[in-house]
Symmetry: C2
Subunit: 213 residues, 2 copies
């Protein structure tokens, strides 16, 4: 079972290995839930290193992964002083935490967050287009391109998400994600060394499937 550290049980996000308590920068293991949707929102966090997944739940348990975050991205946002999403590390991660009040006091921080929010909002717009209008195959192609910076062509990408997590991100079921991977492989657009190691073989076709990007 995955370890859970949160503000309710600990009072503070506590790094698994020695750092001062309340230190703004913490190191967190993979698969740790850092924030819970619905908890009182005391802090804003920045990913320094590693990957973090934000998700929301419906009352009956249906889950949507709403954002995938990497270095520089910000989370811990709130409506009415309540966290809007849960946050879970996908890999070991380094995270910077700020008191909410620091936003008013620190204009440099505020400027950085403003730029970052703009970028994340644009990514969310693209995500909405994907969720609302793309087929399963297109979604998976879109997902893989998103994880593959243009630089790393022919490189092998390590997916640090299960099929279920990918499905929850793409608004599909894990079976449909698996079938889409198989179809991309069958068409020669992608090579799967293992279930979690992908190489993009035909970037042009992938782009066409994903509709630009």
């Amino acid at each position: 079972m995955r370890q859970i550290i949160d503000e309710r049980t600990g009072g503070t996000v506590r790094p698994p290995y020695g750092t001062e308590p309340h230190c703004p920068t913490v190191r967190i293991a993979a698969h740790v839930t850092v924030l819970h949707e619905g908890d009182p929102a005391r802090r804003i966090m920045e990913v320094v290193e590693g990957a973090v997944m934000l998700s929301k739940l419906l009352p009956d348990g249906r889950r949507q992964v709403v954002e995938l975050l990497g270095p520089g991205d910000v989370f811990g946002l709130a409506h009415a002083d309540i966290y809007a999403c849960s946050a879970e590390t996908l890999t070991p991660a380094t995270i910077n935490t700020h008191e909410r009040g620091a936003l008013e006091r620190d204009p440099v921080l505020a400027a950085r967050l403003l730029r970052r929010f703009e970028a994340q909002l644009c990514v969310m717009h693209a995500h909405a287009l994907m969720l609302g209008r793309m087929s399963a195959l297109e979604r998976v192609a879109f997902f893989l391109l998103r994880l593959m910076p243009d630089g790393m062509v022919g490189t092998t990408l390590h997916l640090s998400m299960t099929r279920q997590e990918i499905a929850d991100f793409l608004g599909l079921t894990l079976e449909t994600v698996s079938r889409a991977f198989s179809e991309l492989k069958r068409r020669g657009l992608v090579v799967l060394q293992r279930a979690d190691e992908v190489r993009i073989q035909d970037r042009g076709s992938m782009r066409r499937l994903a509709g630009a990007l």
Copy 2:
């Protein structure tokens, strides 16, 4: 046909009735496209009054309405100095425009935008949950509750969107949206005085359908 005013043809967003050119606050008629996805991003805009719809297109013409904006909301965001979305007024609207550079110079503006971006990001997270995980009926219920501030119970809401626009917002087809309205009416959760005038009859059931909110 709907009138189109954009930066390519005019150089400036020009209000339909007399205001100085380059005046930061403009009045715009309903159904006017204010920004085009892909155009060079020179300005950031704030809705002062009225409603604005942001949308994105796939190369083959599929459309997703990614945000519905009201007073206070901000648009004109950019990735790589290119507008990420098109923006179209749904009603006559008053809009405030700022040069992008003003963000660095005006800390008060920056602080306001920061707060607003946070709120819009939270709304996008909810939108992603809706698009990825809700049924057609749930989406329409969610949509109607979103337009109905808690205050106005029993009030009649005027929809300033066509079924097609609602469908593009909810990731459905116009026929499915129409059927969902009929089903909500049949179940007595909603009264439709006309196609574009709705009253919520049973807010509890609507909430349950929409999954909180």
